[in-house]
């Protein structure tokens, strides 16, 4: 079994790892690091439950702007990718955010907050991926229309909500983030 030494930064924490070259990022995160907030839903890039955010630059939860405690990134910097479709060996040096890395000191990220407030969570299995997709949408486009949100959410499957409250939560998060920026 061929292995490769890599360093992964997950939620600001560095991990020096020796990963089998054929292992996906999902396998490494869930089975090697036991970070189970990233879910396995289909393993073939169809359902979006394993969505994570990736950025070339370090995202530090300690260097957040003064008004917010949650982790931020420069607009459009973080991209949502599917951990099940990514080989871990190709992610050397990358900074990855999972849903557990969004909240800080007990304070939820506005997207998480909006999901709670709107009742957009049912069984919760798609929620980590759905929330991260919401963050990616809003970091790229802080004020998306309903149609834009719906189109961007394609690829993240939910069988519980019919997407009604999920879409509302992303809209609400957009407002929450705007009001935080103003303050």
């Amino acid at each position: 079994m061929k292995k490769r030494a890599i360093t992964l930064y997950i939620n600001g924490e560095g991990y020096d790892l020796n990963v089998p070259v054929h292992h996906t990022l999902l396998q490494v995160i869930r089975d090697q690091l036991n970070l189970t907030d990233v879910k396995y839903g289909c393993g073939r890039g169809e359902c979006g439950t394993c969505t994570v955010l990736v950025d070339d630059e370090r995202i530090s939860c300690t260097d957040t702007d003064a008004t917010t405690k949650y982790c931020v990134s420069k607009p459009g910097k973080r991209k949502a990718i599917l951990a099940c479709m990514t080989l871990a060996a190709t992610m050397d040096g990358k900074h990855i955010t999972t849903v557990a890395g969004l909240n800080k000191d007990g304070e939820l990220h506005p997207v998480q907050q909006a999901f709670v407030e709107e009742g957009a969570i049912q069984c919760g299995f798609c929620t980590p991926g759905m929330v991260l997709k919401g963050v990616a949408i809003l970091e790229k486009n802080p004020k998306p229309t309903e149609t834009e949100i719906r189109n961007e959410l394609e690829g993240n499957i939910c069988r519980c909500t019919g997407y009604v409250k999920v879409v509302k939560a992303v809209e609400r998060a957009s407002e929450l983030m705007a009001s935080k920026r103003k303050r």
């Binding site: 036991n34 907030d37 839903g41 359902c47 299995f125 959410l153 394609e154 009604v164």
Partner: protein, 795 residues
């Protein structure tokens, strides 16, 4: 009393753990010394005998611990369903229930049947070894329709699925309970449907097809099973029905319940898929072979379609007779379902389909037959709606057909002829106690603009034709009196006057746990944060049958309420004793101070009573107890006394592209007769999410097979569910104008009700757009184009 929380839009009790990724599902379990299981399934054939099994190469894979074949596990047969525990034993015999499943099989009856299981020290080794197991098969002919299976079964020496079921007839309505093998009733003079057809001025009749739909819950079936050092079998599972499944496991492995522990992990969606056992027998069998090592067995997504149960597909013939003013006279129907390879839920859903016909309209007479034949498909079982989506697709289209023939408004006819208070519900002898259906119809019709749009879409040209449709439904709140509806709850008053509720109540993501907590808070008059609902572990939870039949609020809620009422009563009784007052003269404020009404100075802190109840001492001077000793606990063992069926009315507006056959659902308004919404966002969530599954049934979702009976679309790309950009922004109207006199706090159910309205109303809206009755679900673009080509646009 603390401020009421029932009916308030509070955050769900489990929202925080789910939104931060902290909720633990069975597949997230990590334990020291854990092994990994892999079930080897037959992917090549839908029907075959296993001639030879060769583990030689597989056992050489480093990390492999053991491989178990059909002879290495219990030979006891089983049935996945918990039904046999929920009915009297004699019922099962009358219905012909059998236990025809085995853990590992020498005869494959559907693609995905389990052959053997690998245990390894890591997941990859388990998967590698599984690939290296050599199975030699002898293929058998496949039977993919009820007709083919029946024909084979009728032959002398025909190939039977099981010798216990002659003719490959898995089940039919038994004569013993249903004279003439039909469910229904005769008119007041004893006349049958057969007698009444001649009275009818208009008869509408057609043959319909309903699809094999998959639940597609997002969490795959995963388990950790562990035969521990105390010789107890532990299983962590996201089952919907924890206690009955614990019992089935105990029976299968011949262990007393005291040696079986079932822990229900967070449930990542159920929709019926986890109603009964799924992969628990296999997971436990593997664990029993390696005592002292937990074994995690996780199904892959592609396995889900071939290894866990589905909706009942099949053919439904229905015939309705009316007077020329639209008065309904009689109805007959016959539902022939494809059973799949095993008996599992037997006639459950087709019978319930008949039952929901029974509960809907005021026919003078009704007779519906139902049967199911074995086929070489993954078995059918429970799926949200349990027979109701299938018959709604048929019944609501035929009602519209009659309205169109007679020129009657579809909404007005339904308002006039649906059953109401005092009429029999889905079950003979059980009558409706509340009815908010006309309000559902009126409010939803107004919201969508029924009259205006009906007129507007009457005459159209162009390639995109719009249509509007309506459908109504009745469902149930729990399955009483057909099935057991029993929940226990222990409410323990903590020493600081907060409350711990212990109950095995399932929350599949529905918000059930939130609603339970709200009901407890209001009953006790305590703030929400003082209540903790503890569920999930058979070691401390009492009996509850689990989540099925839209029962949680209606059947489990009262157990919560009763146990909390008992705590409140005991608390007030002690206060009365200490204050030398009568209970009825006392009141408790939001700070838990109990005082005499009209004399607030005569008071005692409930916290004092709670603390003294536990930390109780003898006063050294008086020699008497300080306060009253003995921890306060409330207990309820609640059996439902009714099933208060909810009604619902749904309107859909569609646009059909007559050149491509594509259907776009533009608007969907669903009015639901909830009685009282305990947690409104959860009720809305059920109805919004159910719409996605209903629209899937009617527009896109069905199994596709190749000529060998192998599934072609066991993945999310080829099994098309409506995505975020396909879904309309469903508008839900919670109708609370008819609180139920029996339901807890006036509540009726909502869990399954959401699918039926969207199914019937979209089918009727498509008819309204193109004037062709589409009799086969799902109504795909291909079928629409074919129908247009054959019949032409009929409007």
């Amino acid at each position: 009393m603390s401020e009421s929380v029932v009916g308030k839009r509070i955050p769900k009790v489990d929202a925080q753990e789910k939104v931060t990724g902290k909720a633990i599902y069975a597949g997230d379990m990590r334990m020291p010394g854990m092994y990994y299981g892999k079930i080897v399934r037959c992917w090549e054939y839908a029907h075959a005998n296993v001639k030879k099994l060769d583990f030689t190469e597989a056992l050489k894979v480093p990390g492999v611990v053991k491989i178990l074949g059909p002879d290495d596990v219990t030979q006891k047969g089983y049935n996945t369903t918990v039904m046999k525990l929920l009915v009297p034993e004699s019922f099962g015999e009358v219905f012909g229930e059998i236990a025809d499943l085995n853990i590992f099989n020498r005869r494959v009856k559907h693609q995905g049947d389990a052959i053997c299981g690998v245990i390894a020290k890591n997941e990859e080794a388990a998967e590698r070894a599984a690939e290296k197991i050599k199975v030699t098969y002898e293929p058998l002919p496949i039977f993919m329709t009820a007709e083919a299976s029946k024909a084979e079964g009728a032959k002398k020496n025909g190939l039977l699925f099981t010798p216990l079921k002659p003719g490959n007839l898995a089940c039919e309505l038994p004569d013993a309970f249903f004279p003439g093998k039909a469910y229904g009733w005769n008119d007041k003079d004893g006349k049958t449907t057969k007698d009444l057809w001649k009275k009818c001025d208009l008869i509408v009749e057609d043959n319909f097809y309903v699809p094999k739909q998959k639940q597609c819950q997002m969490e795959n079936h995963s388990y950790v099973a562990y035969y521990d050092e105390r010789s107890r079998l532990n299983i962590w599972t996201s089952t919907q029905m924890a206690k009955p499944v614990q019992m089935l496991i105990a029976e299968l492995f011949e262990l007393p319940l005291s040696r079986v522990r079932l822990v229900q992990t967070t449930v990542g969606g159920g929709f019926g898929c986890r109603l009964g056992m799924v992969g628990e027998p296999h997971a436990c069998a593997l664990a029993m072979a390696v005592p002292g090592h937990p074994v995690r067995t996780e199904m892959l997504r592609e396995e889900d379609w071939v290894a866990s149960e589905t909706r009942y597909p099949g053919k439904i013939w229905m015939k309705m007779g009316f007077k020329k003013d639209g008065t309904p006279v009689c109805i007959e129907a016959h539902y022939t379902a494809r059973k799949g390879g095993y008996y599992t839920h037997g006639l459950g859903p087709p019978f319930c389909g008949a039952a929901f016909v029974h509960g809907m309209y005021k026919w003078e007479a009704m007779a519906m037959q139902a049967d199911a034949y074995f086929t070489n498909e993954v078995p059918t079982g429970a799926y949200r709606g349990y027979g109701n989506p299938q018959i709604t697709f048929v019944q609501e289209q035929l009602v519209d057909h009659m309205c169109n023939e007679l020129g009657i408004d579809q909404v007005e006819w339904r308002k006039k002829w649906h059953k109401s208070i005092g009429d029999e519900t889905w079950l003979k002898g059980v009558t409706y106690a509340s009815d908010g259906l006309n309000d559902c119809l009126d409010m939803a019709a107004k919201e969508i603009g029924w009259k205006e749009k009906k007129k507007k879409y009457a005459k159209q040209t162009g390639t995109k034709r719009r249509g509007i449709g309506v459908a109504i439904m009745n469902h149930t709140s729990g399955a009483w009196p057909m099935l057991l509806e029993h929940t226990t709850c222990t409410a323990k008053l903590n020493e600081d006057c907060t409350v711990e509720l212990m109950a095995q109540i399932s929350d599949l993501g529905t918000g059930g746990h939130t609603a339970m907590t709200q009901m407890a808070a209001d009953t006790l008059g305590f703030p929400l944060e003082d209540i903790h609902l503890k569920t999930g572990d058979s070691d401390y939870s009492g009996f509850d049958i689990g989540a099925h039949a839209s029962r949680t609020v209606y059947c489990a809620g009262p157990a919560i309420i009763e146990s909390c009422e008992s705590v409140k009563k005991q608390l007030l009784e002690r206060a009365a004793q200490l204050l030398e007052a009568r209970v009825e003269d006392l009141t408790m404020d939001r700070n838990k101070i109990i005082s005499l009404k009209g004399n607030p100075d005569k008071k005692i802190d409930a916290r004092r009573i709670a603390k003294d109840a536990v930390y109780n001492f003898i006063d050294p001077v008086s020699g008497k107890n300080i306060g009253i000793p003995g921890q306060i606990q409330g207990y309820s063992s609640f059996f439902a006394k009714h099933c208060s069926p909810p009604f619902g009315a749904c309107f859909s507006e569609v646009e059909v592209d007559i050149e491509t056959g594509e259907v776009k659902v533009l608007n969907l308004v669903n009015g639901h007769d909830i009685g009282k919404a305990i947690h409104p966002p959860s009720v809305e969530g059920q109805l919004e999410g159910g719409a996605q599954q209903g629209l899937g049934f009617v527009l896109t979702e069905e199994y596709a097979y190749d000529d060998k009976g192998r599934v072609l679309n066991n993945d999310f790309t080829d099994y098309k569910m409506l995505g975020p950009s396909d879904m309309p922004n469903a508008k839900i109207i919670l109708v609370e104008t008819a609180p139920d006199p029996i339901g807890p706090m006036g509540a009726k159910s909502c869990g399954e009700s959401a699918l039926m309205g969207p199914i019937g109303s979209v089918a009727n809206a498509i008819y309204d757009a193109i004037g062709i009755q589409m009799t086969e679900a799902p109504i795909t673009a291909e079928k629409i184009l074919k129908a247009i080509k054959e019949k032409g646009i009929q409007k």
